[in-house]
């Protein structure tokens, strides 16, 4: 197990270097001016050159990359061009907020997705299966952005039950797990949960149906096990795959919530990325992508380890 773990950790190193290199390259080859956030387009060419030098953008790209990567290895992701604040602090604050939202969304998605999936799989081809399957297809198909807006219109603009934007009455810095704050999280979390809900439901449905058709279930029934006992065996057998899917979904939610966080002005990594892209704030963009990529890689590693623990056959293969 330790060897397996070490092997997986070693594999992540080239992945991380590759991610860092490509994200650096992508933001540098995209068109536009890296100083657009602090330099109006009507600024003189002399001023532009002066600032390019002051910020080091006049140096060759590989030199810029080497400097940036070396500092990043030491935990210094540089300073945001637009805000002048350290990128690492900005990203970590946003990661914390997104993590809260993503966990809530994953929890909702896993609970309801798992429920729909088990029910649909257990009662395959019944009307219950059809309703649960329809809901899961709907969840996968509905665009996040649109659903978020619809929820805001209904629950904020019309009914005025829930706040439309933000992360609490005093901002995320004063976050507390009470109703005054949780109400700010509900709409974005529900919006974000529908895709994982749909995916988990479909996965679990297929798994349950597949497991129920296996011979060991017939054997368990022959041994006189109750339905609840059989159900527990099915859950245990379906869990590794369902967990893997949930882990991946959590990973996607961590990095893939730009639209939802923008609609709800939730101060997470999605909103941060959106802001960095529109302001062409390269240090912030690179730093955020690198941190998100790291999270994704680490999450995948954790899921693999968890799967191996639950099902030792994976390790052997």
């Amino acid at each position: 197990m330790i060897f397996y773990l070490l092997r997986r950790i070693v594999y992540t190193i080239p992945i991380m270097i590759g991610v860092a290199f490509f994200c650096f390259l992508l933001v540098h080859i995209s068109p536009g001016d890296p100083l657009v956030s602090i330099l109006p387009p009507d600024a003189s060419i002399e001023l532009q050159k002066q600032l390019m030098k002051l910020y080091g953008f006049d140096r060759p790209w590989f030199e810029q990359f080497a400097t940036w990567f070396w500092r990043a290895l030491h935990g210094d992701l540089g300073t945001s061009i637009a805000s002048g604040r350290p990128v690492a602090a900005e990203v970590m604050r946003a990661v914390g907020n997104t993590l809260m939202l993503a966990c809530m969304a994953t929890l909702i998605g896993f609970l309801f997705g798992g429920l729909f999936g088990f029910v649909a799989g257990y009662f395959r081809d019944s009307w219950v299966d059809r309703i649960a399957s329809a809901l899961s297809v709907l969840g996968v198909s509905v665009p996040h952005y649109w659903l978020g807006m619809v929820l805001v219109i209904i629950f904020s603009s019309w009914l005025m039950w829930l706040p439309a934007t933000g992360a609490g009455p005093g901002g995320s810095g004063e976050w507390a797990w009470d109703w005054a704050h949780i109400q700010f999280m509900l709409l974005p979390a529900i919006t974000m949960s529908v895709i994982p809900m749909g995916i988990i439901a479909r996965t679990v449905r297929a798994l349950v149906a597949d497991i129920l058709a296996q011979e060991f279930v017939v054997g368990l029934r022959a041994k006189g096990l109750t339905d609840l006992g059989i159900f527990m065996h099915v859950v245990k057998n379906a869990a590794p795959t369902a967990l893997a899917v949930m882990g991946l979904q959590l990973g996607y939610l961590l990095g893939g919530s730009i639209l939802v966080e923008t609609v709800f002005s939730w101060p997470g990594t999605g909103l941060l990325l959106n802001s960095a892209i529109f302001q062409r704030d390269l240090p912030l963009l690179q730093g955020t992508i690198l941190v998100l990529a790291t999270f994704f890689v680490v999450l995948n590693l954790l899921v693999d380890v968890l799967q191996t623990t639950l099902d030792p056959r994976i390790q052997r293969s």
Binding site: G32, L47, L51, S83, P86, S156, G173, V263, S265
Partner: protein, 555 residues
């Protein structure tokens, strides 16, 4: 005297207790804090350290409320052009012998929010922060947004406690206007932050950088509002400065909370759900709903121009003046305005006819397709042989209003006057970068026009950069290479007319000639729509990019 009976005494007690309760209630209402919550379009709180980013929205929300400058825009009138008035300088004059030197007399008795005094040293310090690379407090991150807006300012020198001398690189009558962009931050507060930087940080430049970061989180200016709380990217709270030096702008609103809400529908929902009292740029489709729910929508044409800037490079179809004027006469701006729900000012030039720089041009920009078509036929273009033009546009962008539907409307309109318009849609930052490179650069990709809207607050940015031969790319934004000796002479005259009236008269002559020569297709002025709760009173939306929060009141 009869003794009051029980019923009378009971009634008296009831009235008394009611009055008492009412007085407590009114006391409670009086004591209730008046908080104004604003949803901005910015994705982040504009920088708070004195020189805001995020364009003029930054100046509007973290500049003007928290800081003063030597000169300021008059934001007290909605029905007249916003002009320059004294702020921290009470008067100014150019040196009679050396026109590169200006003397500014400063306002006495002004204090920063930290209690330190405003004086000539503070002005010199604030000029150094962006122009003197050797100064300890020089901050590269503030240079871009400041130096570009006062391109000729070079240095400042203290004459006495309340007098400073500013030096420009060349005689420049526009300098007092440009100085609205230099916000005066507190040197004492910055010094305190500098001293508080961890002693382990020994590099002076790094210490200065950290001091500015700390200053941004606990800023100090002389403005009508003081910073009280700051959560990066989430909210900024300001409280009233009860000791503000100008009694007419001393706030009655206790607290202002600013929230970055970049998405138009999210802002609108925040307003409708009562989360905020004021939003910038509501979603256009929601205007009627906003009005029907009792909110007020304010708008007024801003110093802003939404044009097609035309190419004068060799081979450009716009070299023929008849073609340029025909295109200007072929757009029904009233219909376009209606199409945008009324949220547009109809452009008749760079500035509007009520502006001091208008100048009565002989070419009247209006909708006259008959004359336009006749001019095009005279120039050799017919329905069978339309003139092909190509324009680079964006799908979105700061100040661009609604570029795609607006450009498609113009494309369709010009068809009736024998134009065949091809639109090339680019990403906003790419278009912005191309703007500086010019029509002769490969980035123009054969286009002979570009649609980049622009602020027209001061003479350089409104006119000079578009018509001077000294501002050809890549120096500035004369994308189309328009200009000649006549325009250079008009610019020079305006720049060296140091009397305000003479300067405005010179600028009016320049503007009139620009409209007559039509190097642009003048289409629209943005009107800066904002929606507010009815409980926000005393709102004056001036003809400006800015608005004065200090004079507003709240029920």
């Amino acid at each position: 005297m009869s003794k009051p009976n029980l019923r009378t005494r009971g009634l008296g007690a009831l009235v008394g207790s009611t009055l008492l309760a009412l007085s407590f209630a009114s006391g409670a209402v009086m004591a209730q804090e008046k908080v104004l919550r604003i949803g901005m379009t910015a994705a982040d709180i504009p920088r708070t350290l004195g020189q805001p980013d995020q364009g003029f929205e930054g100046n509007r929300f973290t500049g003007i409320p928290m800081y003063d400058s030597l000169t300021q825009w008059d934001l007290s009138k909605a029905d007249a052009a916003s002009v320059i008035i004294p702020d921290l300088a009470t008067s100014w004059a150019v040196d009679a012998k050396d026109k590169t030197k200006w003397v500014f007399k400063l306002r006495p008795g002004v204090k920063f929010h930290d209690g330190s005094a405003f004086n000539a040293d503070a002005v010199v310090w604030n000029v150094q922060k962006v122009l003197d690379k050797t100064a300890r407090h020089f901050d590269a991150s503030q240079v871009g947004v400041t130096a570009s807006r006062m391109p000729t300012l070079r240095s400042a020198r203290k004459i006495d406690e309340l007098t400073v001398e500013l030096t420009s690189s060349e005689p420049d009558a526009f300098l007092p206007i440009n100085l609205t962009n230099l916000f005066i931050a507190s040197p004492a507060q910055w010094e305190a932050k500098y001293k508080a930087v961890d002693a382990a940080v020994t590099d002076p430049a790094e210490r200065a950088k950290k001091a500015w970061t700390a200053f941004a989180a606990d800023a100090s200016g002389t403005g009508p509002f003081k910073m009280s709380a700051f959560a990066p990217r989430e909210r900024l709270e300001l409280v009233k400065n009860a000791a503000y030096w100008d009694p007419k702008r001393r706030p009655t609103i206790d607290k202002v909370v600013m929230l970055p809400l970049p998405e138009a529908n999210a802002r609108t929902a925040a307003l409708l759900s009562g989360q905020v009292d004021w939003i910038e740029a509501p979603a256009p489709d929601a205007m009627e709903q906003i009005r029907s729910r009792g909110f007020k929508i304010y708008s007024n044409p801003q110093p802003h121009i939404w044009p097609w800037q035309l190419s004068f490079a060799e081979g450009s179809p716009w070299l023929d003046k008849r073609v340029r004027q025909a295109a200007n006469l072929c757009i029904n701006r009233s219909e376009l305005k209606a199409f945008l729900g009324g949220m547009m000012g109809e452009a008749k030039g760079i500035v509007s006819p009520d502006h001091p720089w208008w100048g009565n041009p002989s070419f009247d920009i209006k909708f006259d397709p008959k004359t336009a078509t006749a001019m095009m036929v005279e120039a050799g273009h017919t329905a069978d042989k339309p003139l092909k033009v190509k324009i680079q546009v964006s799908a979105s962008g700061s100040g661009q209003m609604q570029p795609l539907p607006m450009n498609e409307y113009i494309q369709e309109s010009l068809k009736q006057c024998h134009f065949d318009v091809q639109l090339e849609v680019l990403e906003w930052n790419t278009l912005f970068t191309n703007w500086r490179k010019g029509a002769k650069d490969a980035s123009a990709n054969g286009a002979n026009g570009i649609n980049v809207s622009a602020a027209a607050m001061d003479p350089f940015f409104a006119m000079v950069r578009f018509v001077s031969t000294k501002t050809f790319p890549p120096v500035s934004n004369n994308w189309g290479y328009f200009g000649n000796e006549e325009f250079d002479a008009l610019v020079a005259t305006a720049r060296t007319s140091f009397d305000d009236k003479a300067r405005d008269a010179a600028l009016a002559r320049l503007h009139a000639r620009i409209v007559e020569e039509a190097p642009f297709i003048f289409v629209a002025h943005d009107v800066g729509p904002r929606a507010m709760s009815a409980k926000v009173r005393n709102v004056v939306q001036p003809k400006s990019w800015f608005i004065d929060i200090a004079t507003m009141k709240m029920d």
